[in-house]
Symmetry: C2
Subunit: 180 residues, 2 copies
């Protein structure tokens, strides 16, 4: 529950909003209590990072393991990454610790392998490199979409509905890359 409140502060106030005094105040508790639970302010931030990362992995897994058709999987992926918490997590990671990344270790590594297997199966017999490139394109654009999609949309004069349809368009296009 505390971490939920902390996550909201990350969204609304950025990294500087992640201090124990403010979070404790939002939660209506004494800041000493926070220190007692997490050991230190840094410990609290690490716990939040872990928590948010697990949430992202879980959400991605849910999409992947659903029985949705291939094209809507991309739509869901983009929708997921546009959720404020998830893209802020990645932005935070990119800023704070360059050496560790939530998409490179532990359960997420397994998840990506899972995605890779799925796509490789679909393009039967073709080079795995192609599958990797396609996934790379899908994931990186989903991340970029989450981080500066709204800004790009604005400067390109795209309508709200057109922006909303972009994920579906990507879902249509990517399979074409397989065929050629």
């Amino acid at each position: 529950m505390i971490l939920v409140i902390a996550g909201k502060r990350l969204e609304t106030h950025g990294i500087r909003g992640l201090n124990i005094k403010d979070i404790a105040q939002d939660a209506g508790i004494n800041h000493g209590t926070l220190l007692h639970h997490f050991g230190s302010a840094e410990g609290m931030r690490t716990a939040l990072l872990t928590n948010l990362t697990e949430a992202l992995i879980a959400d991605m897994s849910a999409i992947l393991n659903s029985d949705a058709p291939a094209d809507t999987i991309f739509v869901e992926l983009f929708r997921l990454m546009s959720q404020s918490g998830h893209n802020k997590l990645l932005a935070w990671r990119a800023l704070e610790d360059a050496e560790y990344s939530p998409l490179a270790e532990g359960p997420s590594e397994k998840l990506i392998q899972q995605i890779l297997d799925g796509v490789t199966r679909r393009i039967q017999g073709r080079d795995i490199t192609l599958a990797q490139n396609i996934i790379f394109l899908a994931l990186s654009s989903a991340v970029g979409w989450g981080i500066c999609g709204p800004a790009l949309k604005q400067s390109m004069g795209m309508s709200r509905t057109q922006q909303d349809q972009f994920p579906a368009w990507v879902g249509e296009q990517l399979p074409k890359l397989i065929q050629d």
Copy 2:
């Protein structure tokens, strides 16, 4: 010169490295001097943000206005976004102030319009929506690539060279989307 040092601290120490005492020490000057010039610590950070944004826009403009062939433009775009300073800028923006974004205002808006015109010209007569979608895909994946490309590469077991070739692959693929 001060802002160059501040930018380096952003890369090496993240946002928490952007305090006037440390920056002043790196620069070998008194921290009061920094305050005198920028008015406040926040003013210094705003100046850095503006500075980095202008650098990004300038770099993008240089790529766009070069007479390089269309496919290498994508390669250059990706290379640009993988430069640490640029993707950290976007991550910082995404985290700190949700309402303002460097790709949505001022000179960058003009730049994106310029890109849009160029692509629209190439796909002669087709719907502008297609051009917008393609640009959206290219830019968003370039941003995502900059922010978590290395991590993705790692968890997908991609070799260094394959990751390096990804931009070129995108450069080959995107024109295909125009033809169909």
